[in-house]
Amino acid sequence: MMVENSSISPTDDQPILEVRELAKHFEIGSGLSFKRKTGVVKAVDGVSFSLRPGETLGLVGESGCGKSTVARTLLRLEEATSGSALFHGEDIFKATPQELKSIRRRLQVIFQDPYASLNPRMTVEEIISEPWVIHPDALPASERPDKVRALLENVGLRREHAERYPHEFSGGQRQRIGIARAIALDPEVLICDEPVSALDVSVQAQVINLLMEIQERLGIAYVFIAHDLSVVRHMSHRVAVMYLGRIVEIGTEEQVYNHPRHPYTKALLSAEAPLDFSKDRKKHQRIILEGEVPSPSNPPSGCRFRSRCWKAQEVCAGEAPPLEYVNNHAVACYFPEDSPAG
């Protein structure tokens, strides 16, 4: 049931990456003085998940839910406030610069903006070779030119593209260059932060297929971050839904999309109209949520979704509901929908 889009099944192996109670708080100053701290934005507040070899974990949520902050702390582009992230048992957050270098060799990233993430003054060859400049023992210099061209072919570009500059390529092609750079070191985990959000649908599908082919071929595990529910479902084996810095629901793609248990997941799924064009299509029934996502600097007490939830009761304002697992399908809600499937 779980695996339909890959020949490599996520197994019950030891997780390759285990994130425990990850938190990232940003201090905000008042407008006039940078020294006085007037508040704390809890961008990520106690997020836990694990990633097994060869699987794709989708991280979905609206803007401000903290999904990109999770990615940035895992890469140590931001320092986590607390929590741990064990990569093969080694805590990324406690790694020394030397250890971090070795971790990053196996943990690579693709960014959202294919225009900002490629240096305009470097040729494609220099861009894709850069990981080997940082890790010279990964590939002897003499083999690099050939490998660059092989990588270009792997991502659907041509060998002669190696001598060109990023501005000569379209958005979709640039994203392919970014992918070639990310897989140059044969990583075990690829963090994809909204990799297709900036692309048009027809080109988006090309990049989605490419990422799935690469996973099939190389067995790389993905943390796939996106706000587009359909794209996340298409790519992922398991999906975690985030709201205001917390995971509210996590399960297999099938569990989360077909049997959503958290009211927020349900509302989120209903917000997107189905692609039904039949003559007798019914007017799509949506759950229209009241208001907007509250500010993460002043979230509601207890369950953070309660201010927009139609099921909220007194208990929701007290202790925050814990993420409780039934059949590997976890939900953080006192009044979950449906009974767990299976």
Binding site: E4, N5, E62, S63, S170, G172, Q173, D200, V201, S202, V203, Q204, A205, Q206, I208, N209, M212, H227, L229, S230, V231, R233, H234, E253, E254, Y257, A267, L268, L269, S270, A271, E272, A273, P274, L275, D276, F277, S278, K279, R281, H284, R286, I288, L289, E292, V293
Partner: protein, 329 residues
């Protein structure tokens, strides 16, 4: 939906003349909008959908933009030939527009209430306290809580969804008969997107206003539109009722577009992306503009511009292989 069309766009051609190249952004677009209906223009970036909308509002700056041919008639009046002073009477009263980016479309240095009241003052409909009160009423109508005090706030004090509501309030202020919504929900989160679409739909129904919805999002079209025009490389390649066109496409591009969209409901098989990328509008391929990316393409497509084929009554496709696509797809 049976009355005379409120808007008729015929063979519209728009060029952008830059130093070296002429970019053919719109190459002979024709469509009609009936009063009270929601017509969607669907296309990817660079397809010419927003340029078409801006041309209807006469917002294109010339140079570099030039209307190279065609006409736009609103209630029978050719609006492209109107002197700009006369056109101002149409703006807001007859046709209004909602833009994608509310933050850059609203003025940051005036309060929201002032900006809406200004509309009534400029058009000589109300002044002073009365204009202010009408602004507050409008804010209430678009679902802004506590409108009287929010009217004193500035745009940066509103969230993305609320800002979009303010812009919608301004657009409907003078009761236009046609509202052009250019990607009104693209910059918003899904749950807020749903709220805004719901609001637009209910406002449209209340006042029996026609709406042109410009979008790249198939699910938005499926949800609210009656008719759809699919655009590619500056042309309407297929046009007709939504259920017909997207339910059973007759143009290879529409079919390919549907094949390349993942769906949240029911996990589909592997996506079938469209190969290559959209054409450079300064160098549009000969014949059918879609031919280099089309799996149905033949020699005919590479050499001759396809005719407009009536697939079924009320729907057309501009494709040499319309019948084949219609039957195979």
């Amino acid at each position: 939906m049976s009355s005379a069309p409120i808007l008729e766009v015929e063979n519209l051609q728009i060029e952008f003349r830059t130093g070296r190249d002429t970019v053919h952004a719109v190459n002979g677009v024709s469509f009609q909008v009936e009063s009270g209906e929601t017509a969607a223009i669907l296309g990817e970036s660079g397809s010419g959908k927003s340029v078409t909308a801006s041309a209807i509002m006469r917002l294109l700056q010339s140079p570099p933009a030039f209307v190279a041919g065609g006409s736009i008639r609103f209630k029978g009046q050719d609006i492209l030939s109107l002197p700009i002073s006369q056109w101002r009477d149409y703006c807001g009263r007859e046709i209004a527009m909602v833009f994608q980016d509310a933050l850059t479309s609203l003025n940051p240095v005036f309060s929201v209430g002032w900006q809406i009241a200004e509309l009534f003052k400029a058009h000589g409909i109300a002044k002073g306290r009365e204009a202010d009160n009408r602004a507050i009423e409008l804010l209430e109508r678009v679902g802004i809580p506590d409108p009287a005090s929010r009217a004193k706030d500035y745009t940066h004090q509103f969230s993305g969804g609320m800002r979009q509501r303010v812009m919608i309030a301004m657009a409907i202020a003078l009761g236009p008969d046609l509202l052009i919504a250019d990607e009104p929900t693209t910059a918003l989160d899904v749950t807020v997107q749903a709220q805004i679409m719901e609001l637009l739909e209910s406002l449209r129904q209340d006042s029996n206003m026609a709406m042109i919805l410009i979008t790249h999002d198939l699910s938005v079209v499926a949800d609210v539109a009656d008719n759809v025009a699919v655009m590619y490389a500056g042309r309407v390649v297929e046009r007709g009722p939504v259920a017909d066109v997207l339910g059973r496409p007759a143009h290879a591009y529409t079919l390919a577009l549907l094949d390349s969209v993942p769906q949240a409901r029911g996990k589909g098989s592997k996506l079938r992306p469209i190969v290559g990328s959209p054409p450079d509008l300064a160098r549009i391929p000969k014949g059918c503009a879609f031919n280099p990316r089309c799996r149905f393409a033949s020699d005919l497509c590479r050499n001759e511009t396809p005719p407009i084929v009536e697939v079924t009554p009320g729907r057309t496709a501009e494709c040499h292989h319309a019948e084949q696509v219609f039957n195979d797809g």
